[in-house]
């Protein structure tokens, strides 16, 4: 048991190091219903896109850009073509997964209590609604291919130097670019560390100190390597260019070297920014500690409890109004000022007036409760019909249970308790009563469109309306609706309805 001390003291930091994998494996464990592609791979692809297109160009990526990327990626990676609607839905799902806050809870050996580490891979700018990869996201992304984090900068720097010496300028350019990503990561790490300081209890102080040590270490390593590199570049210019010793290969190398120089200039400005951010950070750190001190001694307002109390104890809706009042903006009541008539007024030109049209006031009719109810019933019947046809388009034979599961999945479980749902089923069941076979009715689609709309029942009107609005139903011939009196369907142990079968022909 000689290692017990060391093992125990290291557990917390090991947990912290693997937290960045938590979102990915949570997404992996959730699975994805579409077997045409692999969701974890898609997640990695979008992260890569956010690094190459976003991070490296220091810009945010819009929803539409991600959507287009996903469409192209599925096409290129899986030869899987999706339409615009599918790509919007998929993009929403991917962003929701990446942008979610994944909480990693563990029992800390240091603090002897449960600690929570929060990780999310991307973030959204609230003003521009553009997406950016987070420091954790970048950290995770780099670990999927590049070197391990601890030694990342050191190894990169050493490799950079060696590659320059060996004349492998292409690789050296890649490395200096990667170095720049690392420096950018350090800059953004600041907000993550401050976030830990806000939410992470005593962990925050440790993380804050470690961050300073990391930055200081990085600067000292870079100082040596960059000094050597500059000396190398200086010698190279003197020996090769001034003495005209350059061959064709060397000239290509020179071009890459000028790119390296450009990247190094970028690195220089990034480092300056990093220094500024680190200096600012100590102010932010003090401010947050101050807030935490105040928070620790102040009682919190429990919204959930007051909400429940407002509902149950007081049974007074005005409680909600009172809680919401502080959230509203100031209300400035404007009044007409008599002085306004002495102010210069803008007079409209005559020709502008000509374009103005007199619009007769619309005669509005008062909507009665019956009219509102009728409208609601029509809307609901229309929605249920559209759902039924949509389901039939993917599955030519549908039982009532399938239909109910489908709409429950789309809306919610309590959809069956909607006042219009059971009447809808009754109406559609009634529609199925044919004079030759009381349990079966064939609805001829062509006939449906030929029929006088005034002679149709409400279900037929809905069918015609839904089919008329979507081209995909134009190839259908008929729908058979059959009621199955020997079997019943029970919804949530409350409602019992005769089973039905819908068949597309």
């Amino acid at each position: 048991m000689e290692h017990i001390e060391k093992i125990t003291s290291e557990i917390d930091s090991r947990i912290k190091n693997i937290k960045i994998y938590h979102p990915f494996y949570s997404i992996y464990a959730e699975g994805y219903k579409d077997s045409n592609f692999d969701m974890p791979s898609l997640i990695l692809a979008v992260l890569s896109y956010l690094v190459y297109e976003g991070k490296l160009n220091a810009k945010g990526i819009s929803f539409n850009e991600i959507k287009e990327f996903i469409r192209l990626f599925l096409m290129k990676g899986y030869a899987y073509d999706i339409d615009d609607k599918q790509s919007i839905d998929l993009t929403r799902e991917v962003i929701n997964k990446l942008d979610a806050n994944y909480s990693y809870k563990y029992q800390s050996c240091n603090t002897k209590r449960e600690e929570t580490l929060n990780v999310s891979l991307i973030k959204e700018d609230i003003k521009t609604l553009e997406f950016f990869i987070t420091t954790d996201g970048l950290d995770f992304f780099l670990k999927t291919k590049e070197y391990s984090e601890e030694a990342q900068i050191t190894i990169s720097l050493l490799l950079f130097k060696k590659q320059l010496e060996a004349g492998s300028f292409g690789y050296a350019l890649d490395l200096v670019r990667r170095l720049n990503i690392e420096v950018q990561k350090r800059i953004e790490e600041k907000s993550t560390i401050l976030n830990i300081v806000v939410n992470g209890g005593s962990n925050g102080i440790d993380e804050y100190k470690k961050y300073f040590d990391r930055i200081a270490g990085q600067f000292s390593q870079e100082e040596t390597v960059f000094k050597d590199t500059l000396k190398f570049l200086d010698d190279f210019y003197k020996n090769e260019i001034e003495q005209n010793k350059m061959g064709k290969k060397d000239k290509e190398g020179l071009k890459i070297l000028s790119n390296i120089e450009e990247e190094l200039l970028k690195a220089q400005s990034l480092h300056t920014r990093l220094i500024d951010e680190v200096l600012d950070m100590s102010n932010d750190y003090d401010r947050i500690l101050d807030i935490k001190m105040k928070s620790a001694f102040s009682e919190k307002f429990n919204f959930e409890r007051v909400f429940e109390q407002g509902c149950v104890e007081y049974n007074d809706i005005r409680v909600l109004g009172l809680i919401l009042q502080p959230f509203l903006n100031r209300n400035i009541k404007k009044r007409f000022s008599i002085q306004k008539i002495f102010q210069p007024q803008k007079v409209k030109k005559a020709e502008e007036r000509k374009t103005e049209k007199y619009e007769s006031p619309e005669v509005s009719s008062i909507e009665t409760i019956d009219m509102l109810t009728q409208k609601r019933v029509e809307n609901n019947y229309f929605a249920y019909t559209a759902m039924l046809l949509n389901l039939l388009s993917s599955k030519p034979c549908v039982y009532l249970e399938d239909f109910v599961s489908y709409i429950k999945e789309t809306y919610s479980d309590d959809v069956v308790f909607n006042v219009d749902f059971v009447p809808f089923l009754a109406r559609i069941n009634h529609t199925s009563r044919d004079k030759y076979n009381p349990y079966k009715k064939v609805i001829d689609i062509k006939e449906l469109f030929m029929k006088d709309i005034n002679l149709m029942n409400d279900i037929e009107v809905c069918l015609r309306k839904v089919m008329g609005q979507n081209k995909k139903y134009s190839s259908w011939d008929s729908i058979i609706i059959e009621s199955l009196p020997d079997s019943d369907v029970v919804f949530d142990d409350i409602i019992k309805v005769t089973n039905m079968k819908f068949v597309l022909v």
Partner: protein, 251 residues
Amino acid sequence: MSKTMENLSYATRILGELLSGNPVGKNSNKELYDLYINDTEVENLLTTISKELFIEIYDYEEELFLSPGVNNRVFGYSNDEIKKKMRYGFDNSEMYLAYFVMMVIITMFYKESDYDTHVKRIRIEDILLRVSEKMDALKNLENLSEISTEMSYNFEEIVSKWESLSTAQMVFDEAGNMEFSDKGKNSKYPFINAVCDFMEKEDLIKKDENMKSILPQKRFKAIVYCYFQDKDCRNELYDFIKKLNSNEEDL
């Protein structure tokens, strides 16, 4: 001009900017913000003037925010004004239902007041589900209708209002695909959408139409932290709630 008069002028300028809806912070109106931060007299004068006008000013993440607090007869909204501000001109029960939805949204972001929220975004669909859950819980209260008959401001009314709304209205987009309608107030989904529009106008949330979700704005976080975490403000709010119960004051 004496130093105090000069500072009074700065304090009123800051208040003027905030009342006009212009931001004062590290990134805009920086000069005024720096005066507020660096000169205690400016800060004190601003606090005094705003207290006299029953408004609260908060410094949150290097920006100043203004709140009319509770029952502010000068800068607060009357119920009629709120109804008009809602996109489709809400009636009384719709306004209270909107309050209920807003309260659900707040509790989805914050269980209790804090400096910040861990919830980055909420899908409108999830709000719909949560409101439905809460309504079900209310509906299942055995004594709801019993209590409701005694009180004129009861929850039974908003439960029945919610129930009268259809779940969703379906429309077809240009490509012929079926989707939920976002507009109107006669279905649950559009109703929630209209409430979110109102909250966006009040600078509390930002709607992301592409993602069909909402994100909390800095002003929202500022009020949760600075107003609800403040003991005096909380007590003031509790006092008003108690008055409601004893019908001492019509609010």
